[in-house]
Amino acid sequence: MASLNIAGVQKPAAKGHGGAHVKHHKNTSALPVVRMPIPASVTIPLSQHIGAPNEAQVKVGDEVKVGQVIGSTDAFVSAPVHATVSGTVKAIKPVKIVNGNMVNAVVIESDGEMALSEDVKPPVIESKQDFLNAVRASGLVGLGGAGFPTHVKLAFKEDAGVDTLIINAAECEPYITVDHREMLDRPEDILNGVKAAVKWLGFQNAYIGIEDNKPDAFQSLLDTMEANEEFKDLVKLICLPSSYPQGAEKVLIYSATGRKVPPGKLPSDVGCVVMNVQSASFLGRYLKTGKPLVSRSLTVDGGAVADPKNVRAPLGTMYSEIVEYCGGFKEEPYKVLAGGPMMGIATPDINVPLLKNNNAITCLAKSAVKVKPTRSCIRCGRCVDSCPMCLEPTLIEKKAHLKDVDGLNKASVMNCMECGSCAFACPSGRPLVQYMRLGKAIVREAGAKK
């Protein structure tokens, strides 16, 4: 698509390497997010992402209200979890989550009231530390998929030279449209979130990176900035090419600022912090209302769902209930994914709870999944041409086979972000992402032995 010509929208600072020409399938972009009916019970895992697991703060039989803390810990890299419905704690037991792991979870039977906890009140913020404490208390983690606790990401040192906030609204995964809807339906929340982050953390630049296949999202944000004096010159919108994986952190930073995050380094090492657009929007709402992260929007699509929708559901709702709300399956699903088809996790079971970082449930029909026979590598070089990290996946595959630690390190296997562009492009249907993971595991194991 030719780049958009909207006044006030910037062109990207740099063009990344490779990527995959993935079909967008943005079928649900015209459907506003609908709130799902309150489920009879929710199952809230105490550990939902990277970081220390929370300890339960409630007992079986306790009455809980929406927004009440039910799990927390003193560890820094963590975020508390809150009750997402009001009702009675029925059980605290290990449950299976989407990646197949068993984690402890609080099961709450809903009383249908959705009564708000007395603890829910807008946070009072007078300093940077207050702000970071509030972000932690909100339970916010990266809502785009990674699920890294946001307050940890924002707690960079003042002398670290971090000057740029980038809001990730690329939404490069096929099918998913909730970020797009957030920009159309809640532009003020997004800008409020950005404004607070800029105010308390002292960013000099703020960008929102959006792919060029969402022209109405640019317009929505521009109109809101135009209409409100307080949002004038707050952020710059960047029109990104709609190519996968534009929303990958390192790729986005490069596109927005021209800065390259070196291997093994973090965005803050090049002065940037990246936040998902839904995280920013949640932050904007939280600072106003004080209501912690108890529900989230997600896209339910993928071809096998009868009535694809953008749904807002309480965290801990079972996938099976969310799918049922979307009309159930119209044909037998081949795979059910947490996330999009490029990086999503295939779940063995749809009786798993919705987590903070699940931005989509993608139910792929058999007819939509192309299964290529796995053949020998013909060295066509498509994986090399498509790698946004400029690696040679076919070489890494060979080194992984040989368990050649030096070779894997030389080939920079740890730099792979598992975006799947190589495996997407491979004409021989080789499971390259699996080999990348194998290669990383071999390197880690060798490192642990030393």
């Binding site: 995959a20 390192k250 037998e332 490029m342 090399v384 920079s412 495996a423 004409p427 249907g429």
Partner: protein, 336 residues
């Protein structure tokens, strides 16, 4: 409710591109078709017979050798068909059939399957077979059937003559050589596939448009030959055009040197390989005792591929090369 036992669990990504090995090979076969048609028009039905024998024996050789090795059969990927076509295009149309079959067996069994099958051979199978046939049967292999004279000709000993590349040397183009337009449109003697530069070019453009091959290697190869010959021939542009259009340059540059398995995987590697092939081709043609140097230059390039790739390995995103890092450090220190 659906049967949960039927959900598939696998590593991401869950979507794949439409490209397949078979599809790529089919594209190459389509791209080779114009040159095949040109060969049949120029050399007659004997050419068609050589093509069919070559393809059939390559496929059969692949089938039998996989069977003998008790390995999964790979004839459905169509790579044996491509090898068969390329081998036929590298032979004169009046070669005895048993020699064609021998070439196919060398290409598929010795060069391809004995090294591990598709993707594993270190030189181009068709070119390897051609070179071995050329050493074994030099007189028959280097003499192309004269075009136009024996169109009906099933007679192997009919009139034969040297390839046009014997008629051009450092002293320019000799008398009796075909005209440039004959070279371009294909009314000359020589190997079957190399007679029409136009037909090869159509196939090459098709492959580039379909993004099966990158233009880097063929363009640098042909450009290197053009530039090298311009100087070597003392700006005799007629002789330069002759060097470009006669012989196997287009066939080699477009279809043989770009073979995935035996050419560099990196862009810079492709560039180096193109220049390398161009220089070696010209040196053999102009100063060597052989009239043609395309096959040997490509085989020599094939052998160097691991080095070209190692030298041109891409720099991982965000990685600063050691030399550069040193330089910038020195600069900073100098500033301080």
């Amino acid at each position: 409710m659906i049967d949960m036992k039927k959900l598939t669990v696998s590593a991401s990504p869950h979507q794949k591109s439409a490209d397949t090995t078979t599809g790529i090979m089919l594209d190459v076969i389509i791209a080779l078709a114009p040159a095949g048609i040109a060969a049949v028009l120029v050399f007659g039905l004997r050419a068609l017979a050589v093509i069919l024998v070559s393809v059939a024996s390559c496929v059969l050789a692949e089938f039998l050798s996989r069977k003998a090795m008790k390995k999964e059969n790979t004839i459905s990927d169509l790579s044996a068909v491509v090898t068969g076509l390329l081998l036929a295009y590298n032979l004169p149309s009046n070669l005895p059939f048993w020699e064609v079959v021998l070439g196919a067996v060398i290409a598929i069994v010795v060069i391809k399957q004995m090294f591990g099958g598709i993707g594993q051979n270190f030189i181009n199978p068709a070119l390897g077979a051609r070179v071995i046939l050329m050493s074994a049967f030099p007189s028959r292999m280097s003499a192309g059937a004269f075009a136009g004279l024996n169109k009906s000709g099933w007679d192997v000993d009919a009139l034969t003559g040297a390839t046009p590349m014997g008629l051009v040397g450092l002293d320019g183009v000799k008398e009796g050589a075909p005209t440039l337009s004959e070279l371009f449109f294909g009314n000359v003697s020589g190997c079957m596939g190399e007679v029409s530069a136009a037909a090869l070019l159509i196939g090459g453009i098709y492959l580039m448009v379909r993004r099966v091959i990158s233009p880097i290697l063929p363009v640098t190869y042909i450009a290197t030959v053009a530039i090298f010959c311009t100087f070597a021939q003392g700006f005799d542009m007629y002789a330069v055009a002759y060097e470009l259009l006669g012989g196997g340059l287009f066939l080699g540059a477009i279809f043989m040197a770009t073979d995935y398995t035996t050419s560099p995987i990196t862009k810079k590697g492709k560039l180096i390989a193109g220049i390398f092939c161009g220089v070696v081709t010209c040196v053999i043609r102009l100063w060597g005792s052989l009239p043609e140097g395309v096959s040997f230059s490509i085989i020599l390039m094939n052998v160097f591929v691991p080095y070209f790739e190692d030298w041109t390995a891409p720099t991982p995103f965000g990685m600063i090369k050691e030399k550069k890092a040193k330089k910038s450090k020195e600069k900073e220190e100098a500033k301080a």
